[in-house]
């Protein structure tokens, strides 16, 4: 939920409840004030009547609101208020009235005075208040909507823009994080914090990048010296035993070098040094690679079948796409049996590479772990690299085996 929407929703609840409580209070208070006002006007009227009776001796009578009559003796010791309903002569409806009755002594005679005053009906009062409530609510929401829209365009605009900048930022592009300056204190604080965090992360990133590059250089260079010298020993007249020893030493050194390169590659993938540069069609990559590997297929007498139901496309660094496919294919060739087959199936969101092979060479769970070996010659890193590439590209990889050993890559749908 967007921040402003959340705020608006909270506002709505808050205003509604506040207004409800206020309306109830308003009802009670209004009712009380109106009653008091009416009572006061009764006293004023009574005084006027007393004055008139005193001066003229006339007793005014206006039904149903004023009634004055002479009574024999004083029977009430204080004025009396009560609410009554009187039938309206025009429409026959019962209207609420407040009635005031009192007995007063004027010129030694006792008069009974009854005054009535129509009061506002409860229903009318409630409708009035409900309307006020409604209008207030609507206008508050309207105003808050307008204010928010303005805020969105001014205050939040910088924030949104900064968010966009941060989302598209990547260390590997060698650029600085340039956030827009804002006048809002909190946002500026956020910018400062994000800025210093990024600086620290960038330092880590660069250190890691430098390490992988140095590690590569520092290890590969001496290995080159070893290999070149061993290669020169092979050129001399040597016996079979020595030749075998040198060749197996060369193999071991190459294994060491390839292991080092694989580990560095994994570190680079983890450090996200490969920026997805363009959309790769894996159908094309697969065809290129199977052509390149044609003689390997031949040497094991493997049949290759490619079924294309759709085009699997993905934004990925070209080198990684190549490695992903090459590793899966070489796995399918290396762990195959002579005269076996490799079956490749492609559709829009799925790549499946299956091969015949010995029954269950490896467990489902351990197959992607580093250094899990299917046979003594492979280095166990090819599939770990594949897994790492999948993990960093919203891809899921699955290994299944029955008659065929299958690796299936799925696109994980991006949550919006």
């Amino acid at each position: 939920m967007k921040f402003l929407k959340r705020i608006n929703r909270n506002y709505l609840w808050l205003f509604t409840s506040i207004l409800l409580v206020l309306s109830l209070a308003e009802f009670v208070v209004l009712k009380y004030i109106m009653l008091e006002e009416t009572k006061e006007s009764f006293y004023d009227q009574e005084n006027l009547i007393i004055k008139q009776v005193k001066e003229t001796g006339e007793t005014p009578n206006i039904f149903p609101i004023v009634e004055v009559k002479k009574v024999s003796r004083l029977s009430m010791n204080r004025p009396l208020f009560r609410e009554i309903f009187v039938e309206d002569e025009t429409d026959g409806e019962l209207e609420p009235f407040l009635e005031y009755s009192n007995q007063v002594e004027i010129n030694d005679e006792v008069y009974f005075i009854r005054l009535r005053h129509s009061v506002v009906e409860n229903d009318d009062l409630m409708i009035l208040i409900a309307w006020t409530f409604f209008i207030l609510l609507i206008s508050t929401l309207g105003i808050s909507y307008l204010i928010n829209r303005r805020l969105n365009k001014t205050v939040w605009a910088d924030f949104e823009e900064n968010l966009r900048i941060m989302e598209s930022f990547s260390f590997s592009r060698n650029e600085n994080l340039q956030l827009i300056k804002t006048t809002t204190e909190e946002f500026e604080r956020l910018n400062t914090v994000v800025g210093s965090l990024t600086k620290r992360l960038e330092a880590d990133y660069l250190a890691q990048k430098e390490f992988t590059e140095n590690a590569s250089h520092e290890i590969q260079t001496p290995l080159s010296v070893v290999l070149l010298n061993l290669e020169e020993i092979l050129q001399q007249e040597i016996n079979k035993e020595t030749f075998e020893r040198v060749v197996s030493t060369i193999d071991a050194v190459k294994r060491l070098s390839s292991l080092n390169q694989s580990l560095i590659l994994i570190a680079k993938i983890e450090n996200q040094q490969f920026i997805p540069e363009k959309v790769q069609s894996f159908n094309t990559t697969l065809k290129q690679k199977t052509e390149e590997f044609a003689s390997l297929f031949e040497s094991k007498n493997l049949t290759l079948e490619i079924e294309e139901e759709g085009v699997f496309e993905m934004n990925m660094h070209g080198q990684l796409a190549d490695i992903l496919i090459a590793n899966l294919l070489s796995n399918g060739i290396n762990h195959n049996i002579t005269g076996g087959s490799v079956y490749i199936y492609l559709k829009e969101n799925e790549i499946r590479i299956c091969n015949t092979g010995k029954p269950n060479a490896l467990g489902n769970d351990t197959i992607f772990n580093r250094f899990t070996k299917g046979n003594e010659k492979s280095y166990g890193l090819g599939l770990a690299i594949v897994k790492k590439i999948c993990d960093t590209h919203h891809l899921k990889i699955q290994y299944t085996h029955d008659e065929f050993h299958c690796f299936t890559i799925f696109k994980i749908p991006l949550e919006s």
């Binding site: 250089h217 260079t221 001496p222 010296v225 290999l227």
Partner: protein, 225 residues
Amino acid sequence: MKILIVEDEPGLQTAMCSFLEKEDYICESANSFQKANEKISLYEYDIILLDITLPDGNGLGLIETVKAHNPMSGLIIISAKNSLDDKINGLDLGADDYLTKPFQLSELNSRIKAVIRRRQFGGSKLIRFNEISVDTDSKSVHVHGQEIRLTKKEYDILLFFIINKNRVLTKAAIAEHLWEDNIDMADNYDFIYIHVNNIRKKIESFGGTDYLKTIYGMGYKFTDR
């Protein structure tokens, strides 16, 4: 042919130099950016082998000097960084090739020869070995003047053999030459045996001599000695 090796590791420098001298090149070396810059500005070289990671600077920075003072020389970058970006960068800046450490001398030899072939405008693209001649332009092979049909891989292997004649090449070295980055693939080298046998048969069927000697079942040597 004069070659300059820009490389700070003395062991590597010596091994490369002694190999290249055996191949009849004149070899000079520089172990720092500064020295290399000086040599490139002062002397002329046919080929420059350039390590990117130097103690006092990035080797890529030397490409400019090469282009200014040695525009005719071939340039091969040698780097431990197996990074595509560096490779593309280097080639964009004008390098002829890019070789990743660790490499083999036979591979270096084959790359140097390829660069020389490409650099010699109007020069012969024909490589001869007795009755066998390889035209690197049309990628065709003739034995006693008759063309023999080879697959792309067979052609690559034969050219690799002829360029590295009289040298022992292990199956692994041949596989690496064919596969480069995908050397992981070469789980077994049976396919090399198949290719080599095909090449033998094809050359012999046109009356050619079998110059391929198998060395202890682990390597080959292309030689007429």
